[in-house]
Symmetry: C2
Subunit: 324 residues, 2 copies
Amino acid sequence: METKDKAKHLLLGVDLGGTDTKFGLVSPEGAIIEQAKIPTQAERGGEDTMRRIALALDDLLQRHSLKRSDVRGIGFGSPGPLSTSRGVVIDTPNLAWVNVPVRALLEDLMGLPVVLHNDANAAAYGEFWRGAGRGSSIMVLYTLGTGVGGGICMFNDLLVGPGENAGELGHMVLNYKGPRCPCGHVGCLEAFSSAKAVVRDTLAALDGGEPSSLRGVPRDQIKAKWVFEAARDGDALARRIFHGVGWHLGLASGNLINILNVEMFVFGGAMSGAWEVLYDAMLEGARASCLAMPLEDVKFVRAELGENAGIIGAAGLALKEFGN
Amino acid sequence: METKDKAKHLLLGVDLGGTDTKFGLVSPEGAIIEQAKIPTQAERGGEDTMRRIALALDDLLQRHSLKRSDVRGIGFGSPGPLSTSRGVVIDTPNLAWVNVPVRALLEDLMGLPVVLHNDANAAAYGEFWRGAGRGSSIMVLYTLGTGVGGGICMFNDLLVGPGENAGELGHMVLNYKGPRCPCGHVGCLEAFSSAKAVVRDTLAALDGGEPSSLRGVPRDQIKAKWVFEAARDGDALARRIFHGVGWHLGLASGNLINILNVEMFVFGGAMSGAWEVLYDAMLEGARASCLAMPLEDVKFVRAELGENAGIIGAAGLALKEFGN
């Protein structure tokens, strides 16, 4: 069996989400050999969840006639805040977990070394290692969804930072006279470029009487997805709103170019599906702040690994940690 | 002689400025053994300037009975834009030089290896190596003067970046509806927190009829220094303006904490003399953006090396490059 040949070089990657937990058997080259998912059911608590994940990982290994000892280690991505150095999920609103020692629990259950990282950071490392960011020197991944997540890879590694919380790109303040962000601050990138911001601005524009094809949609069913589709179909209101989403992402990116000389920006998450209406606005926003590098030397691209970025990135971080 | 004992471990650091060029003989521990300066007279051209610098460096060595071969290498800080990898000053408004191959010229003249860095970056490395940033994991230096310069040190090194121009912190856009910056963009940190911004805002407030002790100063003699002194003496207008300077520095710092988890901010340059009226405003500004780390874990301090940061930092970068 091919997988047998690679025994002891194989990795397991886990991407714990609010609804599902995705996991996969990953080759040392970053290819997913097989992946699967189980419902997270976080409400059953951290210990129970880790037990069900361990069972699912064992099943996966058995399907490939592999023993645990054929695997080098497990990379585990989870919503934060969490501590990589302690291996503990500190406090996640998404899971309603407080101080769950994910690393210790899973190491005990599996007898394999585990490294725990923030899910957005794991996805960033996935794109850097095997996705759109391959070969770049400094890469940023934005995860565009309900909020705006981020991750920074540089010096051939994920940037974790001394506070273990680097890459909070969604909370860069871009206009402190702008709208309030869910974090409590004013004018963060997330307050302009998240799906939530799209819905907020669309409702405000409709309430203000602006004409739009979206008037046909019941008020409580306005979603970023419909606004994107209206924008793609040429609706002026929807186009203006997505222009703002892209422009602020570009402005933030220009700041990151000035600070770090980032040469590659990768966009993932559901909202990145609106690429065709975001791209030009991004470049326009970047021109309003980028000074440290010619913008022609910088790439703005879509993520390549889709939903697998987290699994692959977590496995890659395990390889980095336990590879030698 | 003590300096003889350290022969072959010694370094030369040069800090080329628009008016004077400072240079020093530096121990491998970062202590200045002797320093001196000569007028830069950049208008005489790059080759002539390098010749005069080489003569001055030879003089310095002779005063210590040292030969060129007793020195490991030369670190050279210059205003930019410049290329560290090519050793070329590309185009500096301060010197009116275009494409001067500083490294090659000085290496030919001295027969010693030379490393060229941006002056603000050299100063940042100086503070990181031997000054206020000693022992920190990720440190930022702001140089507060006519403009706002910056430098980032992390992973025990200066961050140069793939575009060789990282650390352009003065051009982080903080409010794109703010004042225009000399760089052409709108709302950069420099447009809020430079000496130029202080003068601009003071004149605007005086023109607007705001009462102030500064009314006694002739309009064309308003300088940031006088505004600072008025602020220290309790003048309300001057205090409001310096509050804004500090607040925007703090806001930018909060963004850098979110991005990199910077744990140490060091403030140098003439404007940092206004520390007593800047500090509280900085913390207030940082609270408006900092999310990724508790602000109590972050230090805001004054630079320690003063005018010597550039010489020491350049020497330290030469040690890093040629030390082994």
